[in-house]
């Protein structure tokens, strides 16, 4: 077996308290949305707001049953639209989290939200519980793009929402989608410039993906919408890289840009393949090298949790070598890249034992750099990261 590394100097004994085994982050999922956007394939629940109270009870049960061995330094409430909840409900949610999970100094506590669901009361109650970062799902400022994506807000609602947030929580991020049908490079330039002007410390730009089974995917299949071509997508992506770069943002992950010291530390755990807790419907947790997925249907989730069982419906525990491969694959998404030393320490396998001789041609093609014992993707490499990662890591 060419892929099996020798157990000599390439292997180290794992440290059970290491951040990739013992979680220092927490993800909480709130599935409720006012509308199911056409592109979205997350675990979302629409038109079931009457379940919110019961859901919070179930969540409280799951949180109570979660074993905590070390304090966390990041909390991320994602959705769905968590800020669809009332101020009172948000307060209870934040409260149950804070009571159960001890935290470290410099805690990063984020929540996802949408422009139309923000109110001063909600921001206030969250801030009172220590929340210090908002992630605002803007997606676009352009009416025609928002309509294609089936978003429920207009571009004009963003500025008021930002003002409300900023009064209590100065640190906020904005999410955008590029590559929507009909989007032009000028549209995109305006979107990015407005985000910068509004003082966002962090910007995520997600290339639109047509996830199988979503309404947008069906529209593309039937020819009702026409996907942008490769050249156009590339132009948009290049625009983000250049424009945000010159505005002082660091392109620190394939889809993410941050002002200095404003990276999303919670997401960085995913891209480091480190451990995290996950609670709520459809949530994923990664504890002690074992990844578990919760049920994706809200009613199922509630029922199972109330009956005292685990809401997990899928789980996997990879062999050390496969885990090392996965780690390499996700770490390559970071502009910091992969430090050979840290990689060996984290996975027990040398980077060389995985990539063998497959890096050199990528370096030659200008897609990868390998300097100071650290391997990372160039911008051209980021553009083709999927094919590249598959090739380099799996051969």
């Amino acid at each position: 077996m060419a892929n099996t590394p020798s157990p000599s100097t390439d292997q180290l004994t794992p440290d059970r308290s290491a951040p990739w085994l013992e979680p220092r982050g927490l993800y909480v999922h709130v599935p409720f949305c006012a509308h199911h956007c056409g592109y979205c394939d997350f675990a979302v629940t629409v038109g079931q707001d009457h379940l919110i109270e019961t859901y919070l009870e179930a969540l409280a049960l799951e949180i109570d049953r979660t074993e905590v061995t070390t304090p966390v330094d990041t909390i991320f409430i994602g959705g769905g639209t968590p800020t669809l909840l009332s101020p009172d409900q948000l307060g209870r949610l934040a409260g149950m989290i804070r009571r159960h999970f001890p935290t470290r100094p410099n805690l990063e506590f984020s929540i996802e939200s949408t422009p139309e669901s923000i109110t001063a009361d909600k921001v206030a109650v969250l801030a009172d519980h220590g929340l210090n970062r908002f992630s605002l799902g803007v997606q676009s400022f352009q009416g025609h793009t928002l309509r294609v994506l089936e978003r429920q807000h207009s571009g004009d609602q963003v500025t008021p929402a930002v003002e409300i947030i900023r009064r209590r929580v100065p640190n906020f991020s904005m999410d955008f989608i590029f590559g929507a049908p009909g989007q032009t490079i000028t549209d995109w330039e305006h979107d990015l410039k407005r985000a910068i002007a509004l003082g966002s410390s962090h910007i995520s730009t997600y290339g639109l993906t047509y996830e199988k089974g979503t309404p947008l995917w069906k529209q593309r299949e039937s020819g009702d919408v026409i996907a942008l071509g490769e050249t156009d997508e590339l132009a948009l992506y290049t625009m983000s890289h250049e424009l945000l770069g010159s505005a002082g943002f660091e392109h620190y992950e394939i889809s993410n840009f941050a002002k200095p010291d404003h990276r999303c530390q919670h997401n960085e755990k995913y891209w480091a393949n480190e451990a995290y807790h996950g609670v709520g419907v459809g949530a994923v947790r990664y504890v002690g090298g074992r990844r578990e997925h919760n049920k994706r249907n809200t009613k199922d989730y509630i029922r199972v949790v109330f009956s005292g069982e685990s809401p997990t419906f899928q789980q996997e525990e990879l062999s050390p070598f496969e885990r090392a491969r996965e780690t390499l694959a996700v770490q390559l998404r970071r502009s910091d890249g992969v430090s050979r030393q840290a990689f060996l320490h984290q996975t027990g396998h040398s980077l060389k034992s995985i990539v063998q001789h497959r890096l050199a041609p990528m370096i030659e093609a200008g897609l990868v750099t390998d300097e100071n014992e650290c391997v990372s993707l160039t911008f051209a490499g980021k553009c083709v990261a999927d094919g590249l990662v598959s090739k380099v890591v799996w051969g």
């Binding site: 993800y27 730009t205 997600y206 290339g207 993906t209 490769e230 050249t231 997508e233 590339l234 992506y237 394939i254 889809s255 997401n267 995913y270 891209w271 393949n273 995290y276 996950g278 459809g282 949530a283 994923v284 947790r285 990664y286 990844r291 997925h293 996997e316 491969r325 996965e326 694959a329 996700v330 998404r333 041609p361 990528m362 093609a365 897609l367 980021k382 553009c383 083709v384 990261a385 999927d386 094919g387 590249l388 990662v389 598959s390 090739k391 890591v393 799996w394 051969g395």
Partner: protein, 599 residues
């Protein structure tokens, strides 16, 4: 035990589609050799491939019984293959017979290969029983086709039988004619055993099953026999006849056809054409045997997964047990790793072997472009046989580059003579002669480089004559020609498996076509890929496959990681089925595209 006077041995010479298998089926049915219940179409076509393609390369032998004038006769049908690639097989089957049915489609008429095989039979002193088949078809033209048979093969019109194998009309009359016209087998039943090995196959339990025709004497179970060529002794374990399954019997005597097993484990000990005799009381002289078949076409076979190299070797060895007419030697290619250079009788033979390997042995193979065997006379006076483009020595060392020339007969509708003449001229053909079988049909003879013939000539002939033209050829000689090796460079790396030897005058056209096809077949990579065709260091054509510019999905959170990991791994798995040439992955289809003919 029938006396030789009540035995007849015959084969059927027919063109593909002229109804050979159907006629054989009727022989079995009408003589009650098999029941209607056991019947399935093309019963004697052993290989799945044959039944599937509806063509017969070679049928199983069969023994049938037919009663005429109150006397029971044993008739043995030993088949001949009908395709141009298998002339060698024909000669060895004919040597076991005294007669041959010349079966011709009453509409399509005489075909080139039929003529060639009929002459082979006549040269072997076989009695020809001419039969017009499909006479009940509304389009049948029995008078015209009978006239063609007279002109082309020299049979007498009054001897031509008329039959319809499909409806069963005239079938028993054919058997009667065989008994009447074909001489009974000669030979002294009292003489020491002398039997011809005309075929064999390998059986996991019994060892080699040896197909024999007893020429003199007889053979019994328990007898100690000698295979004369290798001078090896064996004890007969089993004797039998094909009826049509293998049915055991006690003895085979002079004139009879059947099989024997003698626990021969190594097929290399059994040579087709060899003589079996009694170990204790051997015959004095062996039978003349056959000329060794000459491989006409060579190509490389490589496992897609290099770890299957030994499996491929084993599969090739097994195939060779039942087909001694192909050969293989290991070779190494920069791009393809370890594989074998295989010699075949022709393109159909090559295709069949490839399909059997892929199907029966479940191997994924890359077939390199086929080539003929060239000769190079070096400056130092040495003659090198070139089986592979890799064997071509440096240009400076070549005194003379020679290629095989075949004498080829096209039998075709007269109205297509002009088309064939243009085709042959484009392929450096030299005109020899034209003969008219009738005002509508002619045989036109050329001398052509074999390389041009295997490249695309057969397909072209079929297309210009709408399927009515046929061809047949034999090697004539080697002649000097202005040949060059055309190389293909993928991303600056020469892919040795894609090199071809071509005439200089066609090199540029071939090179351009070749890389245009490749361009369509190679997937985009992460970088630009240059495709070049070159003669020596001179680039004669170039194409570029532009690299992927954008291939990244945006999100990668908790649950996405699992999904993405599986996708990545799957993508990589798919690529592993391809061949890695430098940094470029090339699929088997890409290699195959090089072989397809021009449009």
């Amino acid at each position: 035990m029938p006396a030789p006077s009540h035995i007849r041995n015959f084969s059927i010479i027919a063109h593909i589609d002229h109804g050979k298998s159907t006629l054989a089926d009727q022989f079995l049915l009408q003589t009650n050799t098999i029941t209607k219940r056991d019947y399935r179409a093309q019963l004697l076509d052993g290989m799945d491939l044959e039944r599937e393609r509806g063509i017969t390369i070679q049928m199983h032998p069969v023994t049938i019984y037919h009663t005429k004038d109150g006397e029971k006769y044993e008739l043995n049908l030993i088949d001949t293959p009908g395709h141009v690639d298998f002339g060698y097989e024909v000669s060895r089957s004919l040597a076991a017979c005294e007669g041959a049915i010349l079966l011709v489609d009453a509409f399509q008429g005489v075909q080139a290969q039929t003529v060639a095989n009929a002459y082979l039979a006549i040269e072997n002193d076989l009695t020809i029983v001419p039969v017009l088949n499909k006479i009940d078809m509304p389009t049948a033209r029995p008078e015209a086709v009978t006239a063609e048979m007279e002109t082309a093969v020299g049979v007498n019109a009054e001897d031509v039988l008329r039959a319809s194998a499909k409806s069963g009309v005239g079938v028993l009359e054919i058997l009667d004619a065989i008994i009447d016209r074909v001489p009974c087998p000669p030979g002294d039943p009292k003489a020491p055993l002398k039997a011809l090995i005309y075929n064999s196959h390998f059986d996991t339990f019994k060892g080699v099953v040896i197909y024999i025709r007893v020429m003199e004497g007889s053979v019994k179970i328990g007898q100690k026999i000698k295979l004369m060529r290798g001078n090896t002794d064996h004890v007969v374990m089993e004797i039998g006849q094909f009826r049509p399954t293998m049915v055991p019997c006690q003895e085979l005597t002079t004139g009879q056809v059947g099989f024997l097993t003698a626990q021969v484990k190594n097929i290399q000990d059994v040579h087709i054409g060899d003589t079996v005799t009694d170990a204790v009381n051997p015959t004095e002289t062996a039978l003349p045997g056959y000329k060794v078949p000459q491989a006409m076409v060579y190509s490389g076979l490589y496992p897609v997964d290099n770890e299957e190299f030994e499996d491929l070797r084993e599969a090739l060895t097994k195939l060779r047990l039942n087909d001694s007419s192909f050969s293989f030697v290991p070779e190494v290619s920069d791009g393809l790793g370890f594989g074998f250079r295989c010699g075949f009788l022709g393109m159909l033979h090559r295709e069949i072997i490839g399909q059997r390997l892929e199907r029966d042995c479940e191997l994924d193979l890359v077939h390199t472009a086929p080539n003929v065997t060239f000769q190079i006379l070096t400056r130092s006076g040495e003659t090198i046989m070139v089986h592979s483009p890799q064997d071509v020595v440096d240009g400076g060392q070549i005194e003379e580059f020679r290629e095989p020339i075949v004498r080829i007969n096209f039998l075709l509708p007269s109205k297509n003579i002009g088309d064939i003449m243009s085709m042959a001229a484009e392929r450096r053909g030299e005109y020899i002669k034209t003969e008219y079988l009738s005002p509508e049909r002619a045989i036109i003879t050329y001398e052509l480089p074999l390389a041009e013939v295997i490249y695309d000539l057969y397909d072209k002939l079929k297309s210009v004559t709408h399927g009515y033209g046929t061809m047949e050829y034999e090697l004539k000689e080697y002649r000097p020609a202005d040949l060059v090796r055309l190389d293909v460079l993928v991303h600056q790396k020469r892919v040795d498996a894609l090199s071809v030897i071509v005439h200089r005058s066609t090199a540029e056209r071939r090179g351009r076509k070749l890389i245009q096809k490749l361009r369509k077949e190679i997937d985009r990579h992460l970088f630009d890929i240059a495709l070049q065709a070159a003669i020596g260091s001179r680039i004669i054509a170039r194409e570029t496959i532009t690299g992927m510019k954008k291939d990244v999905t945006a999100k990668c959170y908790g649950g996405d990681i699992t999904r993405k990991r599986k996708l990545w791994a799957k993508q990589a798995e798919g690529k592993k089925r391809m061949k890695q040439v430098g940094q470029v992955e090339i699929s088997q289809e890409a290699f195959m595209s090089v072989l397809e003919s021009d449009d």
